[in-house]
């Protein structure tokens, strides 16, 4: 399909962190460990997950729309997690279709 050849490839990063009000024992433990090591003034440590991939899409808006659905369906559990999506400028056009 000709439209396929026009698609761009976007570098996607999704940061998943515990939702506000959901306990984050891992973050708390990191905070305590930093305090034990003598680092003062560290507050509200949160620990989460980074998911990074490249995605072919027609434009940045279409990419964001698709990634949001991915987050809602699989990558984050909205009951306990929130997510931030960042989409970089397209890195390169995919190779032209054969034929």
């Amino acid at each position: 399909m000709s439209s396929e050849a026009e698609r761009m490839r976007f570098r996607i990063e999704i940061r998943v962190t515990p939702r506000e009000g959901i306990v984050d024992p891992e973050g708390q433990t990191i905070g305590r460990a930093l305090d034990n090591l003598g680092y003062r003034g560290v507050h509200h440590v949160q620990s989460g997950r980074l998911v990074r991939f490249e995605l072919e899409a027609g434009d940045a808006g279409a990419a964001r729309e698709q990634v949001t659905r991915m987050c809602e369906e699989l990558i984050a559990n909205p009951v306990i997690e929130q997510y931030d999506i960042s989409i970089a400028e397209p890195i390169r056009a995919p190779e032209p279709a054969e034929g």
């Binding site: 959901i22 306990v23 024992p25 891992e26 699989l74 559990n77 009951v79 306990i80």
Partner: protein, 255 residues
């Protein structure tokens, strides 16, 4: 009565559930592979414990998309009894059949030891053999068993009597020290709004033999007595009733 036990890659309590049903209760049990598209005519379904798909992403997050889960969800929506134990509970939450979620234990440690749970409600297909207030000893074995839910959700669970099991101490009190993982309101098990889908973190199948204790056996025996609302003529009625009586006697002696 035919009980289906779903096997995901990484399930590891499937054999224990099978034995609890076959040897503990004496009824038919079959394994259902996660790629299967039908439930083989089973009357009830168990999602056993384990580490389906290596717990990648979140516990239960990938298993929920297994082909058989489409059938399990339809079966549950149709009023069929579904029990999720440990990882099975996590899968039921990820699949949206039960509200809330299970996150890392507040201790950050994997907890593997016996706990006491109090039976809060007996009006589910898996608890009719008990009496309200019965305290059961069953093992837990999980790293992510801390039940969390929005305040409105947990209040609704309480209000609708959908907390089925609660962690308690030797006095039967739901204290903070009796809570092995930081679960909201000491919740160890809940059911859905239709009271047919039950999830719990402790392992009743590991407390279903003389050697390991029999407090969990009633969860499986209850299935014999259970009738779907639209079920035809009762089967095995006499056997079911006598088993229920035995369990009551045993529960009474233990408490």
């Amino acid at each position: 009565m035919k009980v289906g036990i779903v096997r995901f890659p990484g399930s590891n309590c499937d054999q224990d559930c099978y034995r609890a049903v076959r040897e503990g209760v004496g009824t038919e049990a079959v394994f259902l592979w996660h790629k299967s598209h039908d439930l083989d005519g089973c009357d009830s379904i168990i999602l056993p414990g384990g580490f389906s798909y290596g717990d990648h992403l979140r516990a239960g997050a990938i298993a929920r998309f297994s082909p058989i889960m489409r059938e399990v969800i339809a079966f549950a929506r149709d009023g069929g009894p579904v029990l999720g134990i440990c990882n099975g509970f996590q899968i039921l939450c990820e699949a949206g059949l039960l509200p809330g979620a299970l996150v890392r234990n507040d201790s950050l440690r994997f907890r593997s030891h016996p706990v006491r749970v109090r039976v809060e409600r007996t009006d589910t297909p898996f608890t009719t053999t008990y009496r309200e207030g019965d305290v059961l000893v069953m093992p837990i074995a999980h790293g992510e068993g801390q039940y969390v839910a929005d305040r409105s959700v947990s209040e609704r669970l309480e209000g609708e009597g959908r907390v089925i099991f609660r962690y308690v101490d030797s006095q039967g009190e739901a204290t903070a020290s009796a809570n092995p993982n930081g679960s909201a309101r000491n919740i160890a098990g809940i059911c859905d709004a239709g009271r047919r889908v039950v999830g719990l973190m402790p392992h009743p199948e590991r407390a279903a033999s003389k050697l390991l204790g029999t407090d969990g056996l009633g969860v499986f025996q209850a299935l014999l007595a259970h009738r779907r609302p639209d079920a035809e003529a009762p089967r095995q009625q006499a056997g079911a009733e006598s088993r229920v009586m035995e369990t009551h006697d045993r529960a009474g002696a233990a408490s």
